[in-house]
Symmetry: C2
Subunit: 500 residues, 2 copies
């Protein structure tokens, strides 16, 4: 069993704890509480620089097969455990990046290994069905136990998909189909509609658009990419649609010092949203939907107020557009609520909420009227993956039985207090600490310094990720506890202290 | 273990074999060879109509959550085995549709169950990595053992993705990036390129196009959908690109009787391809790539000659376009070669070959120059799934050790001879039997009759799928043997005999 192997490894690897090397930090963080060695390692353990020699050797091998410029290092997933990611050179690192925010309850969680050991589950892993035509017996029950048990308020329908991009692509299609059906007064399409769409022409393929925000990220396939506006390298050279791009508020921090300025900034952005809706309708590219992240993650952890999102929801309604909240990165509990947009307390729910990453598969919730009436309009071969749903079921059980969302709020406070302290002590380096729960970020003075800090922290045993131009994003698992926060804060304290 | 459960079930279920009810067919097919009961069931066993009462009950439950118009019936995957799909009402059917052609070596193959029982493999299933940044140690080796061990001639690079649509979307992006880089003379993008792409404008997002064929199917996300031209319901109401759509040859059968007409038809289509390339370049929508299936599958199993494809490859080369062969449905062995386009014997290989379905995950092979030079241009969170690669490794081992491609050719001949016999005996019902290996199809006189035949055959214990307007497509697994072909032919013979 993988768990036995992990336990054996644990005995070998209980080594120096890097927390001990950060005495200066005792003023803001207590020594880390020891975790049970049955469950997880005691702390980071570094043997080489990262990437080490074995990682570099494997990168060379892989480079003969694909572009490897984005490779950080190679991992030993069998030896990784809980919040600790072990690499192929034997380095053990506390992971606050979690595979781009996609590991919900840590590496090799016993509950997940148990799913794999139950013989009744094996057939779900080796016989992937065409879910849209030939689902397994437990499919409706499983949807109720998993996705619908955590459905955002007001949404009772869910469509599974295989990844975040496919989820948004299909959500956009559902939006367009709904909008055109509304325009058509629920009448059947004409022969001209049917014929023209087959050769990519109007009126069958109408010139609708989705309004998105500068700095937003919604995926990299061609439909999604038309609504993604983060880095040029994500979009360069790829044909796209002329769809409206609104400014997203650029809030000034600390928020309490810039209340008036930030309110003005949000009002400006909302005004621009309405102007764009009017402008694009006039030029025949009607805005059928608005897509927005509750926190622009890839784009730099850009936040806006509850008031902004409520008004945006109202604008969507006023203009008859679908309001699509993309929770691919924010969903799954990191903000202290299962869905980040639950913090807004909307009166009228979002029309569509898409997800992936920590949900282990993709998909979207939607209001009843966004179900197409005909078959095969939202369809593909696999339509998700029941084996991922089985694993998700256990993830949700663990979240519930261990009250992990409460834990996230408590741990998030420790992390955030630490970040506030850092920016107070290193104002020339750090600013704008922000976030909800453990979904946090801080700005670094420039991109080069940010990248450097991430590498230095990694060599001390902490895995971090960047986002936006010069931010560090913190995306720990949901089983990241207060003592893990202390381990991180101590190491990051050392990293900053060494940074001239 | 699932295998023990399956064996127990087997003892209970060895019941009447529907082959016995088809005496009239002995003239064209010998009695089926018995398969070993350890490995598979002895034949179909029908207890209810399909969908039966339990399937209908579950469909009602699911209908509260999603559109269920495309549901055929609910399955018991634990009890399914080899070529036999068992439903939730205890019906056991010989499967020639295989989850829309995506099950390579049958249900619950012992080699795949063994993968799940090896403790060293478990961590790949419970810790899905971000493959583009943090791959597991065995990743380069696994790519060599799996995808690259069956790479089409001349292609040494492979990029994995999670599904067929994502594979084509990313292949198109690689095409556009390559083309624009060539236009730019390998120079760096300008500031205007970088700024304009972020707001969806030229020159950063150029108006390039992909040329595709009427009747082609390349997926349902917005980029893919712009190259899909099968049924109106796949495309209706979804905004798209004005990209060129060429006619695909409509061959007349039997081929030997229409040699001259078919050659003219192919010449006409190729001429139109060249005309469209010129026309779209003139209107500023340069054709950067041509995408084509070796056999238009979803569109109705439309074939063209080797000569057609060789000339098409030459046209792509002459006009500097990428030649992209979409093997999502044709790849994996069903045509008797691992890749259908290997039948063409191209001198200059395809530039891109995309795959999914029987490969259990998605991806595309490509020539070296189609690797983007920068990171994050072809990227997403998961970039495939190592757990699927582990299963694929076993699939490929089974294909090799059991010489399944040879088996496919032998079985295909039995199937094809049967189809020829049927169309000779029922000329008012059937025509144009065609295909390669076991990747076969036959036309039915009209859509309603086709759909009816599929339902009647299902109620006798055979699962079939339609394609195009009025074709039946046959997509058995690679472990579908001659005796399975006999079981099918006997049942289909009865179905046809009852059809007035």
């Amino acid at each position: 069993m993988a768990s036995t192997l992990l336990c054996r490894q644990l005995a070998v690897n209980l080594q120096q704890n890097l927390r001990l090397s950060a005495p200066s930090y005792r003023c803001i963080s207590k020594a880390a509480t020891k975790s049970s060695p049955d469950v997880e390692f005691d702390g980071p353990s570094m043997k080489t620089e990262v990437p080490g020699p074995r990682s570099r050797e494997l990168t060379e091998q892989l480079d003969k097969i694909q572009n490897t410029c984005a490779i950080n290092f190679f991992c030993n997933y069998e030896k990784s455990r809980g919040n600790y990611l072990v690499d192929v050179d034997g380095n053990r690192m506390l992971d606050l990046y979690t595979q781009i925010s996609s590991i919900p309850i840590g590496y090799n969680h016993p509950a997940l290994l148990k799913v794999m050991q139950n013989p009744q589950n094996l057939s779900a892993f080796v016989n992937r069905p065409a879910l849209g035509s030939l689902p397994p017996e437990n499919f409706p029950g499983n949807l109720l136990d998993t996705f619908l048990s955590v459905a955002p308020k007001g949404l009772r329908k869910v469509q599974t998909m295989a990844c975040g991009s496919c989820s948004n692509e299909n959500a956009y299609k559902a939006i367009f189909i709904w909008y055109r059906n509304k325009e058509r007064g629920n009448m059947k399409p004409t022969k001209e509609d049917l014929d023209s769409c087959l050769i990519n022409q109007v009126p069958g393929c109408p010139e609708f658009s989705i309004l998105s925000f500068m700095g937003g990220f919604h995926g990299r396939t061609l439909g999604c990419l038309a609504t993604t506006h983060t880095k040029a390298m994500h979009k360069l050279d790829v044909p796209t649609f002329d769809w409206p791009v609104a400014p997203f508020p650029r809030l000034r921090y600390p928020l309490e010092e810039f209340v008036r300025e930030n309110a003005q900034e949000e009002a400006r952005c909302l005004e621009e949203v309405e102007d764009l809706i009017v402008k694009y309708r006039k030029k025949g590219k009607t805005v059928a939907g608005i897509v927005v992240e509750p926190i622009q993650a890839e784009g730099g952890d850009n936040h806006a107020s509850t008031d902004f999102f409520k008004k945006l929801r109202d604008i969507a309604k006023k203009h008859g557009c679908v309001f699509h909240v993309d929770e691919v990165q924010t969903g799954g509990g990191n903000t202290g609520k299962f869905w980040a947009h639950e913090h807004w307390g909307l009166d009228d729910p979002a029309d569509i909420v898409s997800f992936s990453k920590k949900m282990l598969t993709g998909g979207y919730y939607h209001k009843d009227e966004l179900t197409p009436a005909e078959p095969y309009r939202i369809f593909n071969t696999w339509m998700g993956d029941p084996s991922k749903n089985l694993l998700l079921n256990e993830v949700l059980n663990v979240i519930r039985t261990e009250n992990l969302l409460d834990e996230v709020s408590r741990t998030g406070k420790v992390l955030m207090d630490g970040l506030y302290d850092f920016q107070a002590r290193y104002p020339h380096l750090l600013s704008a600490a922000r976030g909800q729960g453990t979904f946090l970020a801080i700005d670094v003075r420039d991109e080069a310094t940010r990248n450097n800090l991430i590498i230095k922290a990694r060599n001390k045993g902490v895995v971090l990720g960047g986002c936006g131009e010069r931010s560090i994003r913190f995306r720990p698992t949901l089983v990241f506890k207060q003592h893990h926060a202390h381990v991180f804060l101590n190491i990051f304290n050392d990293t900053l202290a060494e940074y001239k």
